[in-house]
Amino acid sequence: MNDIVQLRPEGLYCPAGKFHIDPWRPVPTAVLTHGHSDHARGGMGCYHTSAAGLPILHWRLGEQDYRPHEEGDEFRLEGARVSLHPAGHVLGSAQVRIEVDGEVWVVSGDFKRQPDPTCRPFEVVACDTFITEATFGLPVYRWPETAVVARDIARWIDHCAARGEAAILYCYALGKAQRILAELQPWIERPVYLHGAIASGVDVYRQAGVELVETRLVIDPANARAAREWAGELILAPPSAAGSTWPRRFRNYQQGFASGWMRLRGNRRRRNMDRGFVISDHADWPDLLRTIRETGAKRVIATHGDTEALVRLLNETGITAETLATRFGEDDE
């Protein structure tokens, strides 16, 4: 097997460079695409990362042997020439370009093509083989413009205010929450309240210089016992808070969920959400296909998500495609 990147029990491995990409077991040398928990795990000998991704890794994994690289700068790992390029997924997320003896492979990590004020836009990197995610690998997944969704969220807050209800919006704590806070800037003037699990990620983004709407903690440590009126306030919380007793403190409230999965009514209704907002940090179906086309890759390997349909369609259109069973995407969106 001469593949530049191969699947090993500990993760994706590049034999020529003797390094792993987003490994799930401890290895000497890891190259990370981004800081989400299914891609960035503790216990590695050293971590190669984009410089922009460092703050999130630092927050998530603490003090480690980090080797930050500017985007686009080539570095050498044994027999491989490696560089990191923006993936547009979350702050500092990167694709990994690997060149060995003139052959180029790109590992996308998670990526999206929609504009996102909190991170650098996806860069198309020409390659022979493209290892792609396929979280939303069916044509029913097409994203509306984010500005339209932000406006819908603002209208929903008004609707809740008129009914005397709080608006609790559940979203992934790292990336999605901050993107929403950035996108809401033109639409809302009141501060947004945060669940504790979201607040620390918000601090990381702010320190990295990302502009967000004003935020406050739901539980203000300085004034923890103050009773207050929540009607008409927007509250961001992680999805795990939805099934718990946590929302009850707001008494009258509606619950919304911001995720690509909300494109399907069944997903929203199964979670008993009042509203679903289709906003995703992954590529939708048209962007998956467009990206594969633009890289010029002759071979595509899909790592996680709904890979079956994508692989079959690519094979029917003359691009060799297959699935690799990785452990990515285990707690996504």
Binding site: P139, R265, G266, R270, D274, A309
Partner: protein, 534 residues
């Protein structure tokens, strides 16, 4: 279409009954009559495209969307399997229109665009549908597709719609419910009659809304003295109202279908009665001299048969076991106490000749213990258990708890192996929730029942994950899974059947529990189930 799409969205988003009702009332207040009539038709489960006036069949819609979205048809199927709702799948696959087309109302779409091509060549119908898809934005496209596929599936009951109409019109809900029974044409004239506060001549030809019993989920002792209750067998037949007014007889099933002409022996007995009346009771197949009724499957052979010949009348003669009298000689008796209606029922049927029209016998157990003993002998008598009716209760409408209880016998149970699974619909559309189970016959597992309910949400999730990892083959949305998981199924009865491959048909199967402790080899034999069949 905007108005109806907005209503659909409001209903779909809200989980609170009061909000849904308010949205319905607002729609009926604001929509033009012609629109409101069609809206009501759709909310009541009516379909615009039917076999007789075909506008688009499900297979056609899938083909057309593949063309419109330029997708291979297998990818349309994969998408449908993921979404679980055809109308929604179509709406999701078609590209968004570049710019909105001029607004057409719901009635204009149906009457001026869709119905004029009903029954035409597929080419013409396809063109109309694709044009609509090209023009309509997502929310309206979804509702438009729902017109074609039927089933709005938006969590609105008939009663809720009727409550909203009553709120808007101040006409009593009972009158509205009665006027909506049976088939009707959605038109402004119908809507005006429906909401007319005066009594209309047509009101007299309609059945009354059925009063439905609730399952008894507590100890019967908690209902008080046994003597305060009228106790009857719970018959396993078809619930029906027999209406005789001005000598004319009509028969209505509880599914609001007219059964006239199907059971001439019962209609004949009604015509011979001394007075006009409306009876509530159960149609049961029963040989005249026999102590037990025939199994439900015998009645099934009669349901669809208009003007049955002598052979059918002899093989599966039907009678009505009457248990309530709602109207006598033109007088509405529904507010009278149960026991008084019962007394008048017995007097009315006293002189009825032959067995075709008999009162359901009253059981008179001295205490609840004796009642329980009667109930435990139900299966041997070919009945499903006991009915408990409060002696002082009026005849209400719909399922109202408190006065009518069905105290059914425990289900029969069997341990079966999961063979196939497919995604459910609506709220469960992304999970596999429709299961097929089998029993052993030699070395093979023979499918015997499908079941959709009985697992907790957590179990459904876990099983969904398990079966995705243990799929053997896929046929469209259906997965055949490794035959490893055993479930205890409950069912109300089992009949021998020539229409089923297994040779048996089980009634109302559902999952009682997941038998994780049991290996598949120890599941039950088909033979065991057949031995329970009547």
């Amino acid at each position: 279409m905007k108005l109806f799409a907005a209503l659909y969205q409001a209903l779909d988003r809200s989980t609170a009954t009061l909000d849904k009702r308010a949205a319905l009332a607002e729609y009926f207040r604001n929509a033009p009559e012609r629109d409101a009539a069609w809206g009501l038709f759709l909310l009541a489960g009516g379909k615009v495209s039917t076999a007789r006036r075909k506008i688009a069949g499900p297979a056609e819609l899938r083909d057309w969307v593949a063309e419109a979205a330029e997708l291979p048809s297998w990818l349309v199927e994969e998408s449908y399997a993921q979404v679980g709702d055809l109308a929604e799948t179509l709406a999701l696959l078609v590209p968004e229109p570049e710019q909105a087309a001029p607004e057409r109302s719901l009635a204009e779409w149906i009457e001026e665009v869709l119905l004029p091509v009903a029954g035409f060549d597929p080419v013409d119908r396809c063109r109309v549908i694709k044009d609509a898809w090209r023009d309509l934005p997502f929310d309206e496209r979804l509702v438009f597709n729902k017109l074609l596929t039927g089933a709005l599936r938006v969590g609105v009951s008939q009663r809720m719609v009727q409550q909203a109409l009553a709120e808007v019109s101040q006409v009593p809900i009972a009158t509205i419910a009665q006027r909506m029974l049976g088939g009707w044409t959605p038109s402004p004239a119908f809507l005006r009659d429906l909401l007319n506060p005066q009594e209309l001549p047509g009101d007299r030809q309609q059945p009354y809304p059925f009063f439905l019993a609730s399952p008894l989920e507590q100890e019967p002792e908690r209902l008080g003295q046994v003597g305060d209750w009228l106790i009857e067998w719970k018959w396993d037949g078809i619930r029906a109202q027999l209406i005789r007014r001005s000598g004319e007889v009509a028969l209505w099933s509880r599914g609001e279908e007219r059964l006239d002409g199907r059971f001439p022996e019962v209609e004949g007995a009604a015509a011979a009665l001394e007075a006009d009346c409306v009876l509530d009771g159960e149609l049961v197949a029963w040989q005249p001299e026999e102590a037990l009724p025939l199994p439900f499957s015998a009645l099934q052979t009669r349901i669809q048969r208009l003007k049955p010949g002598p052979r059918w009348l002899a093989e599966a003669p039907v009678r009505m076991v009457a248990y309530d009298l709602l109207e006598l000689a033109g007088e509405d008796l529904r507010e009278l106490p149960q026991i008084e209606r019962r007394r008048r029922l017995e007097t009315l049927l006293e002189n009825s000749e032959g067995p075709q029209l008999l009162p359901s016998p009253l059981l008179l157990p001295p205490d609840w213990e004796a009642a329980a003993a009667l109930r435990s002998g139900s299966r041997e008598r070919g009945v499903e258990g006991l009915m408990l009716k409060r002696a002082t209760a009026p005849y209400q409408s719909g399922r109202r708890r408190g006065d009518w209880w069905k105290w059914k016998i425990g289900p029969l149970t069997i341990d079966a192996v999961l063979l196939y699974a497919q995604p459910g619909h609506g709220r469960r559309s992304t999970l596999h929730t429709d299961y097929t189970f089998g029993l052993w016959e030699g070395d093979a597992l023979v499918p015997i029942a499908k079941a959709y309910s009985g697992l907790t949400d957590a179990e459904i999730l876990e099983l969904d994950r398990w079966l995705r990892a243990h799929t053997r083959e896929r046929f469209g949305p259906v997965r055949s899974v490794e035959p490893l998981q055993v479930f205890e199924l409950g069912f109300e009865g089992v009949n021998l059947s020539r229409r089923h491959k297994s040779g048996v048909a089980v009634r109302f199967p559902r999952i009682l529990r997941w038998r994780r402790d049991k290996p598949a080899a120890e599941a039950d034999l088909l033979h065991t189930l057949k031995a329970l069949a009547r």
